[in-house]
């Protein structure tokens, strides 16, 4: 198994290890397989990006780790090891204690992530309920954190309500709250999607600086390739509930192995230097996830699909030192070169 091989030669154990995770949503039309055999590692003090189109299961994965899934979700197999403990087997109370302590999260929409009827001060003190210390100590920590995320004049601003802040400022407050508890793992679910372009750059740099300072790991979920390229150390590409490719940020962006990754990168108009009136697209749509699937999940939209893709699900093929992709084409190449 490649994972075992990986862990044996890396010195520290990853903060988060997800193994063969399968998740279904029960619906009146049948079971939707939203995550299929997802495995990934988040090493300590690294930023891992998850990219994919909407419906690829990237947010579902983030919510599964946090334990925030709706009632109709059902994890059928797999394990999520966080600091050596399987989150799926922990009792509910023990799991809940991890939230806002070792695990914390930044949500997509800063407009609705904060409680509108309570001041930022009381929310920032509340989130430290796991910590020891008096109220004034907690307040001092909150003020210090607001200062660090770049909110001017925190002494007066901390007493304000969320609606007194603009979108970018609110996302800063959310980041401050998420990092206030010094988590081992921070999950950021599209933290810049609701923000303007100039703010997006500011927030990405802020996250990067704070991550280095605190030394936590970050699982960064985004569909924005530029943001991922700028922030992450490793990238996981998801398509229709499967991890199709994983590797270091340079490998993924410079040397993508999976046809889907290549197609996704080609679609980004930011990469096209020459002015063009016809932008590249990925023809077709994400397949329905109802029922079980045989063969490669991307075959219907893949320009290079062949017989084997219909019959057999591709296994993980290793490329170079640290890049893994699920595509039959890679197998063929290896045979030819051998």
């Amino acid at each position: 198994m490649r994972r075992d091989h990986l862990t044996s030669h890396t010195s520290a154990r990853p903060v988060l290890e997800i193994r063969d995770l399968n998740l279904d949503f029960g619906t009146p039309r049948g079971r939707i397989h939203a995550l299929r055999d997802v495995s990934l590692d988040v090493p300590a003090a690294k930023v891992i990006g998850i990219v994919g189109e909407s419906g690829s299961g990237k947010s579902t994965l983030a919510y599964t780790v946090m334990g925030l899934l709706p009632e109709n979700a059902d994890v059928s197999t797999g394990s999520i090891l966080f600091e050596g403990k399987d989150l799926l087997k922990l009792p509910a109370l023990a799991r809940r204690r991890l939230l806002g302590d070792r695990l914390s999260m930044i949500f997509q929409d800063p407009m609705t992530a904060l409680n509108p009827v309570r001041t930022v001060e009381s929310q920032m003190i509340d989130i430290q309920h796991h910590e020891q210390g008096s109220r004034s100590e907690k307040l001092a920590r909150a003020l210090d954190m607001l200062q660090r995320v770049g909110i001017p004049d925190p002494q007066t601003r901390i007493g304000a309500y969320p609606h007194h802040f603009s979108g970018g400022m609110r996302q800063r407050v959310c980041i401050a709250m998420a990092l206030l508890v010094k988590p081992a793992l921070l999950i950021a679910d599209e933290p810049t999607t609701a923000l303007d372009a100039t703010l997006e750059v500011q927030i990405i740099h802020l996250l990067k600086d704070l991550q280095k300072e605190i030394g936590c790991s970050v699982l960064f979920v985004s569909h924005h390739l530029g943001a991922v390229a700028e922030l992450c150390d490793r990238v996981v590409v998801m398509y229709a509930g499967e991890v199709v490719e994983e590797g270091t940020v340079r490998d993924i962006f410079h040397n993508p192995a999976h046809p889907y990754t290549r197609a996704l990168l080609e679609c980004d108009p930011g990469r096209i230097r020459q002015k063009t009136r016809t932008l590249p697209t990925i023809p077709g749509e994400i397949p329905s996830l109802l029922g079980s699937k045989k063969g490669c999940i991307f075959r219907a939209r893949c320009p290079q699909a062949f017989n084997r893709c219909v019959q057999e699900s591709p296994i993980e093929y290793r490329m170079g030192l640290d890049q893994v992709a699920r595509c039959h084409l890679l197998d063929k190449k290896r045979l030819v070169s051998a």
Binding site: L199, G226, L279, I282
Partner: protein, 384 residues
């Protein structure tokens, strides 16, 4: 070619508080100016982009053109006819020739109507009852590349990209001369975004309508549009041909916006101006040049004097509002050296002179050089 739509000195205000509260709080004017003094024109078959961050007034302009918002002053003329003054019924024949694709692609489709009724509603509104409704719906769906059986679906049965296509199909129903697309790709995945933009480009080639695109995504603008206007706090700060602005932005804000979209390349060394802070509140408009609070080149004059639009010497269609417009990257270092060889002078005098030269000749380097204002380039990879 003549102008299809001409907007002159448009001002749109919103009331922030009632007269009593204004009196009680001592506020001089209870209004905020969302759009102040904007002029532009769109020629037939042309694509113009309005670009800016949220709150810059770009959607307000679109809503005012289409009549969802009244202007305080200024004129909007469509095909030579002034339409801002007209009442609702008088306006109707002109509205028939413009159509809007709304930003919220699912929210702008009524959840209780089928796609067929949504697509044929424009005919009912404009009293074209004699049309073959079923046939028209099919024609429109085919035009945007959706199968004909979509006519029976309801909006909740559509994906984001499909809902956007239905929105575009509805806008095309009456063969308009002008389509206003408000953030046509916001919230869509990159692959779907390409589809929607290709569709708009193809339809424009086939039908020859003009398009006004409102967006904050500059990558979209580069491939789609002929000209672009960059907005900041309700004003145009730079207008010109898309190609020229991308090649050579003159306003620091434009340059910052161009660099703000992170490149999908981990090794890209961006020549980036990183903006600090956020767009100021419209209720507290900064004095002088409104961008000075975030501008790294801001000088004393910027806080006092509002810059008048100046045109580029190379291209009269390219104008910008800045006291110290950016020069070409390749030229800057040479002129910086020239600037420093002049020797120490009182900073103010030098800037004043540089400004005068820049407006008179337009080719000289206007940027204050050397010690205080040297061009700071931030590369995200080397920073920290």
């Amino acid at each position: 070619m003549s102008a299809l739509l001409r907007v002159e000195d448009l001002r749109v205000c919103f009331r922030m508080m009632g007269p009593l509260k204004a009196l009680a709080t001592g506020t001089k004017s209870p209004f905020i100016e969302a759009v102040c003094g904007v002029s532009f024109e769109i020629r037939k078959g042309e694509t113009l982009a309005l670009v800016g961050e949220s709150g810059s007034g770009k959607s307000t302009i679109a809503r005012t053109i289409i009549g969802l918002q009244r202007a305080v002053s200024g004129s909007i003329s469509f095909d030579g006819q002034e339409i801002e003054e007209l009442s609702g019924t008088e306006r109707k024949p002109y509205l028939r020739r413009m159509a809007m694709v709304f930003q919220d692609h699912v929210g702008s489709l009524s959840p209780r109507l089928t796609v067929r009724s949504l697509l044929t509603e424009p005919f009912r509104i404009h009293g074209l009852k004699d049309r073959d409704v079923g046939g028209e719906a099919e024609r429109l769906l085919r035009m945007v590349g959706l199968p004909a059986d979509f006519a029976r679906r309801y909006p909740h049965q559509l994906s984001g990209g499909q809902a956007r296509r239905v929105g575009i199909a509805r806008a095309l129903a009456l063969n308009p001369d002008l389509i206003i697309a408000d953030e046509p790709t916001a919230g869509l995945d990159v692959s779907v975004q390409g589809e929607v933009l290709n569709l708009l480009a193809r339809l424009q080639d086939e039908l020859g309508m003009a398009i006004l695109i409102i967006t904050h995504n500059l990558n979209v603008v580069r491939h789609m549009t002929d000209r672009m206007a960059i907005m900041y706090l309700g004003r145009f700060i730079e207008v010109g041909s898309t190609e020229r602005i991308f090649e050579h932005p003159r306003h620091p804000y434009t340059k910052a916006l161009l660099a703000a979209n992170p490149e999908p390349d981990p090794d890209a060394v961006l020549n980036r101006i990183e903006l600090k802070g956020e767009v100021p509140s419209l209720m507290r408009r900064p004095s002088g040049c409104e961008f000075h609070t975030r501008c790294q080149y801001a000088q004393d004059i910027c806080t006092r004097v509002f810059p008048e639009p100046s045109a580029s010497p190379h291209d009269t269609g390219h104008s910008f509002r800045c006291h110290f417009p950016l020069e070409r990257e390749t030229v800057a270092p040479v002129q910086e050296r020239l600037g420093s060889s002049v020797g120490p002078k009182p900073a103010r005098a030098r800037h004043g002179r540089a400004y005068a030269l820049a407006t008179a000749v337009g080719t000289r380097k206007a940027r204050p050089s050397t010690e205080d204002g040297s061009l700071r380039k931030i590369s995200p990879k080397t920073k920290k």
